[in-house]
């Protein structure tokens, strides 16, 4: 890596010493700033952070995520959101204020195995993240295919101002919904477009740390055209 402000690190690596502010995935030990994850360290202004290359999704309020229903009680659904915690979707979010536990059957709306697009409504470490699907663009996913990538690669898949994802969508005709949790749903009428879009997503995940990725994805999508 030519840029001396970025380095490959593993846990325990000393990134730098001196008067820097420790941010994500680093700790301060005396005057040493130490990486706590496998990833790429960055020193910018007066702060140091590490962009991790592995690990589960850490819920942040307002994030868009894709979740899979795994169980339910009489009052809420539980969803797998690729995090260390299970997401909770209260029945009221779907049925409304008049929800009645014994009158309204949860499985009539969502059952085990269903995929949804949701937003993180609330998240703090003392309880499991709360989800909502009550906005227009949220709700049960009726068609498409689920592709899983590492959450750390999501920014790369979106690209600067959405350039990467737009490139893929335009070249394949697919509609792609990206969850911040690394789960992505790809929908395409055309089977070849679907396969190409999936391939492009896997390519971004595999080569996220290599330069000129957008150009290479573009040329992959344009090659062997129909």
């Amino acid at each position: 890596m030519e840029n001396t402000k970025r380095k490959y690190v593993i846990p325990g690596d000393v990134i730098t010493t001196g008067p820097f502010r420790p941010e994500h995935n680093v700790i301060l030990d005396g005057n040493r700033i130490i990486a706590t994850a496998v990833g790429i360290s960055e020193i910018y202004d007066d702060a140091v952070k590490v962009i991790p290359l592995a690990g589960k999704y850490i819920p942040k309020i307002n994030d868009l995520v894709i979740g899979k229903v795994i169980s339910h009680s009489s009052l809420s659904w539980e969803l797998d959101i690729n995090s260390c915690y299970v997401g909770f979707l209260p029945a009221q979010d779907v049925f409304g204020r008049d929800f009645s536990a014994h009158a309204d059957e949860l499985t009539s709306k969502l059952k085990n195995g269903d995929l949804v697009v949701a937003r993180i409504a609330n998240s703090d470490r003392s309880r499991d993240p709360l989800l909502t699907i009550s906005d227009r663009e949220l709700g049960k996913i009726e068609s498409g295919e689920l592709v899983k990538i590492s959450p750390s690669k999501v920014p790369r898949l979106i690209g600067k101002r959405g350039t990467m994802i737009q490139t893929i969508e335009m070249a394949t005709g697919a509609v792609i919904t990206i969850g911040q949790n690394g789960w992505v749903v790809v929908s395409c009428e055309n089977r070849d477009g679907l396969l190409k879009a999936k391939k492009a997503i896997q390519m971004v995940e595999a080569e996220a740390h290599i330069a000129n990725l957008t150009d290479r994805v573009k040329s992959m999508l344009e090659s062997k055209g129909e």
Partner: protein, 272 residues
């Protein structure tokens, strides 16, 4: 299996839709196995061993050979015991602790497939009749679970046994003492091959992968021997099979089994 293996609804719908078009989710034909690799001698300290990769399912089997007491009513036969364990690192839902019913069924089906075929001539494994015999223990450790552990463990155990070297023991003062440097092949009479098929709706699929396994209505494991005869059988799953389906499954197990038998034979000749 817990929620970590719960297949999403879009995927299970897609699997069924593709079957109606004559296709499987990973592009295989209905009677086609995933890529199969069998490597023997992977645990040099054991008397026999094999590592099998069947798609993304991976199993390591080790064979230990040691003197033992015969079973009470079988003093003229050696011992063969086959076990299996799904290691907790193999799948998020695999739990450490005493084996549950799934693992016990797996071990017993793999054991029966080899035992009932008569693969090992146990009468050749006697040191002192009624007192001391040779015991062959085949143990399967499943290290990655992506469906069809029955066949993966069966191939691993069979390949490991085929490549096993039996040491020579002499009886000195009533005790078996190993004679170094004089090993022989295990007394093999036949090569059992198991083929597991799953049923989704009216479709019979050979070697279901992890996702297909989640959608199965029923499954059957049929083991055949080198003569093309059926020597073991186990049906599993929450639903059943018609007589016609069972007949078809038997035919498939014989033809597919014959091809796998060749792969197993080659694995004995030194890996892969």
């Amino acid at each position: 299996m817990g929620h970590a293996s719960l297949i999403d609804e879009l995927k299970s719908t897609k699997i069924r839709d593709l079957l109606e078009q004559g296709q499987r989710i990973d592009g295989r034909s209905f009677d086609q196995l995933r890529s199969l690799s069998i490597e023997t001698g992977v645990i040099p300290k054991a008397e026999g061993s094999a590592r099998v990769r069947l798609g993304n399912t991976e199993v390591v089997a080790g064979v230990k050979v040691q003197p033992d007491k015969p079973f009470p009513d079988m003093g003229d036969k050696g011992i063969f015991i086959c076990t299996a364990e799904i290691l907790p690192l193999a799948h998020p839902s695999a739990e450490p602790g005493p084996p549950g019913e799934d693992v016990i069924e797996l071990a017993r089906v793999v054991d029966r497939g080899i035992r009932e075929s008569g693969m090992i001539d146990l009468s050749q494994l006697v040191l002192v009749k009624d007192r001391s015999v040779i015991g062959i223990f085949a143990d399967n450790s499943v290290i990655d679970h992506d469906g069809n552990l029955f066949d993966a463990c069966s191939y691993a155990s069979t390949a490991a046994v085929l490549s096993t070297k039996i040491p020579k023991w002499e009886i000195k003062d009533d005790i078996p003492v190993k004679v170094e440097g004089q090993e022989s092949d295990a007394p093999i009479t036949t090569i059992p091959v198991s083929v597991t098929m799953g049923r989704i709706g009216d479709y019979i699929l050979v070697d279901p992968n992890g996702e297909e396994w989640e959608c199965l209505d029923a499954r059957i494991t049929i083991t055949t021997n080198s003569d093309g005869n059926i020597c073991a059988l186990q049906k599993g799953g929450h639903d059943g099979f018609t007589f016609e389906q069972l007949t078809k499954c038997a035919e498939i197990s014989i033809s597919v089994g014959a091809k796998i038998r060749e792969t197993l034979k080659q694995s004995k000749q030194g890996g892969q």
